[in-house]
């Protein structure tokens, strides 16, 4: 029985047990003698547990309360230390909670569909490009593959919603009838599209946001008829708010139905394939099967599909490697900050423990066990960490929605990123790590070394501690150098990118979209009337320098790639003949500021009954006719033979971060009625000498006069479109730069704290030196040398870490070498400067030490 009791006593704090354990056993022993009878052993065991458990908890609670009181007192006495420590923890925890929330949202959280990991996207892939599917390829893949429980397709085709207030442009998605069932999300109201809908009249499913905005959220909308591009559609359902498929822009869904002739052109690729893996089929097996399917089709259609494979990717992975890397880099930076915060906290606590060595020693001498001292110091660091953690999490909650711009637009998720339960769990873990792990070293240290040494001599007790702190400072400097170099490289990369000539002048250009509804405008002459009238009147507005229509603007419409053949040369089978094809009205190059290098612009005379012509960009001319003029050469594109009549400058269609195909411009009238419908010019670009916004009312009036049912949408400055291209980068840069500066600050505080402490500890020694005739300069030099020495060591380590980090982010650097000397030099200089500033106050204090006073203290 006594053995059980003794074992139970371990529930008490060790100090308490040492103090009263023997007594407790003695008294318990006496009490046990009072218990007798048949069930005595059981009753004794019960009594033992009933005695120890609640009382042990109560004692722990007493100790904790005592420690908390003590902590509160101690922290009130040194508010500077408390504030610094709390801020440091808050920075570390805040930055990491925010970064993790974003990473969780972008990289980890399951997409809002049932069993989302089995959803995949399908692409036609050649070694160079991935493309959308053509209807024929979609049909064949669907028929030949067995890995999927369903394979569906969709394409986006914005439509004009007319008949309600203002005509409105809708982001409409055409979906094959089985798509909703495949994705697996039921309608919020009404029903989704089912296969039977392809036979019945046109139907539409609305997004929750559109339903709220345009129909006031009334259920009476079900069964109502809305006109999309002039065609009446019956509304059959509304999707829940969280349903954003295929992306956040989608506003309405209508059935995609193929006519027999849609299957004829195997290279007319405009479908996005989406499929669900059959149960038990792995992604690898599906990829394997698709390889077999595509090679079979390649043999069957060697001309069109000879080199076509299939890319099968999980839905979650449908974002650019760059977006992913941005988020990962952010997490890396946040971890750096955490490391810094921890190092700084440990350093602060160590310094404090050393400074309090005497107090602790006195308490130890008065009988407080080591365990009590350690426990009390831990309570202190835990309290600091908790307060800092709460501040940090609150900051993160406020900051995370600001990071929304870093969420790739391609992700089919609705809400803005927010701090969720998982992120909070991470925050709690971080607090526990910073508070306990980094509190325990100083605490143990104090518990071990302080007692006797401190009582004896005091000042020299901290030698070891100082070495630990010096190491921590080196780590801090290294981490901030690594961060500074990384963000410096990214800043240089953005500068590089922004310095790249886009090939056109975006300033002063307004873009207005008037997407003409089809089939209403299938006839080219009808379009011609509209374009001619609108352009004539817009050009006549005061301040307008030029106006033109184009299929799609560079950096916004990035695809639209067609193969071109050169007449009289063997056909080019690979993708090297790809061009981005655009139909334009005359005046497009002048409006966008694209230089006309030779030949002429397309003209109003380039009608359907005239010889077909084309304007090519410089790189196209150089690739195919390197040593001669391209003018007058004949090419074939989209089954038509055309003569090259002009050469213009190249434009970065795919944005400034990647290479673009050469461009091919065709006169908007030289196309058959109802053909190549996706390329009907819809973007009106207007260059003006007056603020573009002032033109807008007049442009709206002109469009309404030309066609009262025609909506005007997507009003934007071309410079905004160009700027947006680097917007996620800039957001991330601002973040990284902020984090780097925070890191620098923490490192500076660390250096300052260490040196201030050293000077305080060595004041006697420094005083003696002064008394022995050392000049003030020498004393200052001594302190500064120590600080700068640590900083240099940190810089050396940091540069190496930064180099390794920069190598992994190579894709983000836009050609800036990871060892870029300017960046590395600047970062190192910044760090050294900070170190010097950190040295300043301690050095001055050392210089002011009065030899007499210092010696008297001896």
């Amino acid at each position: 029985m006594m053995r059980l009791y003794r074992a139970l006593l371990h529930l008490y704090p060790a100090g308490y047990r040492a103090e009263y354990g023997g007594e407790l056993c003695a008294v318990f022993g006496e009490r046990m003698r009072e218990i007798s009878g048949p069930l005595a052993p059981a009753r004794r065991a019960l009594a033992a547990a009933a005695d120890v458990v609640p009382n042990a908890l109560a004692v722990h609670w007493d100790v904790l309360r005592q420690d908390l009181r003590h902590t509160a007192r101690a922290l009130r006495r040194s508010p500077g230390f408390a504030t610094t420590a709390v801020l440091v923890v808050a920075l570390g925890v805040g930055a990491n909670t925010a970064a993790f929330s974003l990473a969780d949202y972008v990289l980890m959280r399951p997409l809002p569909f049932p069993d989302p990991d089995r959803l995949v996207r399908l692409w036609q892939a050649t070694p160079e490009y991935t493309n959308e599917l053509s209807p024929a390829v979609y049909r064949d893949w669907k028929a030949m593959s067995t890995s999927f429980s369903g394979l569906e397709a969709f394409t986006t085709q914005p439509a004009n919603l007319v008949g309600r207030t203002e005509p409105r442009r809708l982001e409409t998605v055409l979906v094959t009838p089985g798509l909703f069932e495949l994705v697996g999300v039921p309608a919020f109201a009404g029903r989704t599209i089912v296969p039977a809908d392809s036979a019945a009249g046109p139907v539409a499913v609305l997004s929750y946001a559109l339903w709220q905005a345009q129909f006031g959220g009334a259920t009476s909308v079900l069964g109502q008829v809305v006109r999309l591009d002039g065609v009446p559609h019956t509304v059959i359902g509304v999707m829940p708010p969280s349903f954003r498929f295929p992306n956040r822009q989608a506003e309405a869904w209508t059935p995609l139905v193929f006519r027999e002739d849609d299957y004829e052109d195997r290279t007319d690729t405009y479908l996005y394939g989406v499929a669900r893996l059959r149960d038990g089929v792995t992604l690898e097996r599906a990829r394997g099967e698709m390889a077999v399917v595509t090679s079979q089709l390649g043999r069957q259609y060697p001309k069109e599909d000879g080199r076509t494979g299939a890319a099968v990717r999980r839905l979650r992975e449908e974002m650019s490697a760059r977006s992913r890397l941005l988020v990962i880099a952010l997490c890396g930076a946040a971890l750096c900050i955490l490391l810094l915060a921890c190092a700084n906290l440990a350093s602060l606590l160590l310094a404090r423990a050393t400074a309090r060595a005497r107090e602790l020693a006195v308490r130890a001498a008065l009988g407080a066990g080591r365990e009590r001292l350690v426990r009390q110091l831990l309570t202190e660091s835990a309290v600091l960490a908790t307060i800092g953690g709460v501040v940090g999490v609150l900051t993160a909650v406020a900051a995370v929605p600001l990071l929304a711009q870093l969420v790739p637009a391609a992700l089919p998720v609705a809400e803005e990123p927010s701090v969720n339960g998982r992120a909070l769990a991470v925050a709690v873990l971080l607090v526990a790590v910073t508070g306990l792990a980094f509190g325990i070293v100083p605490a143990l240290h104090a518990g071990r070394s302080s007692a006797l040494a401190a009582l004896r001599g005091g000042d020299r007790a901290g030698g070891r501690t100082q070495r630990v702190r010096a190491t921590l400072v080196v780590v801090e400097v290294a981490a901030s150098v690594a961060l500074l170099v990384s963000s410096g490289l990214l800043i240089r990369a953005v500068w590089n990118i922004q310095a790249r000539d886009p090939g056109f002048r975006a300033e002063g250009v307004l873009r207005v979209r008037t997407a003409l509804p089809l089939p209403k405008y299938d006839s080219v002459s009808r379009r011609e009337q509209f374009f001619t009238r609108v352009l004539r009147e817009v050009r006549a507005l005061p301040g307008v320098l030029g106006a033109a229509y184009v299929t799609g603007l560079p950096m916004e419409m990035r695809g639209g790639i067609w193969g071109v053949q050169i007449v009289g040369r063997p056909p080019i089978e690979d993708e090297s003949n790809g061009v981005s094809l655009r139909y334009v009205t005359p005046g497009f190059y002048a409006t966008l500021g694209i230089p006309l290098l030779s030949g002429r612009d397309v003209s109003d005379a380039d009608a359907r009954d005239r010889p077909y012509v084309a304007v090519v960009s410089e790189s196209f001319a150089r690739r195919h006719w390197p040593n001669e003029s391209a003018l007058g050469k004949r090419i074939t594109v989209a089954d038509d033979e055309r003569t090259v009549v002009g050469v213009v400058g190249d434009v970065r269609v795919r944005g400034r971060e990647q290479e673009s195909e050469p461009q091919l411009y065709l006169p908007y009238r030289q196309v058959a009625d109802g053909a190549i419908r996706n390329y009907v010019p819809k973007e009106l670009a207007v260059r003006s000498a007056v603020p573009p916004a002032t033109l807008l009312p007049a442009i709206r009036r002109i469009v309404r006069a030309a066609d009262p049912e025609q909506p005007v949408s997507h009003v934007r400055l071309l410079s905004d479109i160009v700027g947006e291209e680097t917007a996620p980068r800039l957001t991330q840069l601002r973040l990284l730069a902020t984090l780097s500066l925070i890191a620098l600050l923490i490192a500076g505080v660390g250096i300052h704290g260490l040196l201030a402490f050293t000077v305080a500890q060595r004041s006697r020694e420094l005083g003696v030196r002064r008394a022995l005739g050392a000049p003030v300069g020498g004393i200052v030099g001594l302190v500064v040398r120590e600080g700068v020495g640590l900083a240099l060591a940190g810089v050396a380590v940091g540069v190496l870490v930064a180099y390794a980090a920069a190598r992994t982010m190579g894709a983000l650097l836009a050609g800036v070498p990871p060892e870029d000397p300017v960046t590395v030099g600047t970062a190192a200089a910044l760090c050294l400067a900070t170190a010097l500033v950190g040295c300043l106050r301690p050095a001055l204090r050392a210089a002011r030490i009065d030899p007499a006073t210092a010696l008297r203290a001896e």
Binding site: Y16, G22, C25, A26, R31, V52, P54, N55, V59, D62
Partner: protein
């Protein structure tokens, strides 16, 4: 510990604390003796367990109400493990203050005509 500390700050005393003080007023005792004394005085109503006793003792030592006695009775009378406690002057002051508080309460109750037994 300053003896002129305000004794009232600790009032009201937990019953166990008051009884332990009472047990130590007339003589120094060891733990089990305290338990026995309390039990005898309360007619078996308050039986302190070992854990409760020493938790109270620990707190009372911390508060300066009682102190461990350095000298011990002759060895043959004493169990080696036993520790003896005495009440400190501050402890006595606190016990008195608690007594005053209780007396005051009883007086207030009597002034209202209340008696311990129902009449």
């Amino acid at each position: 510990m300053t003896p002129d500390r305000d004794a009232d700050a600790l009032l009201p005393l937990p019953p166990a604390t008051f009884h332990i003080l009472l047990a130590l007023v007339d003589q120094e005792r060891h733990g089990y003796a305290i338990i026995q004394d309390v039990e005898a005085r309360t007619g078996g109503e308050l039986r302190l367990s070992a854990g409760t006793l020493y938790r109270s003792i620990a707190r009372m030592v911390e508060q300066g109400l009682i102190a461990e006695v350095a000298r011990r009775p002759p060895a043959r009378l004493d169990d080696e493990r036993r520790r003896y406690y005495r009440v400190t002057p501050f402890g006595t002051a606190v016990a008195r203050a608690e007594m005053r508080r209780l007396t005051q309460l009883v007086r207030l109750a009597r002034a209202r005509g209340l008696t311990p037994e129902a009449t």
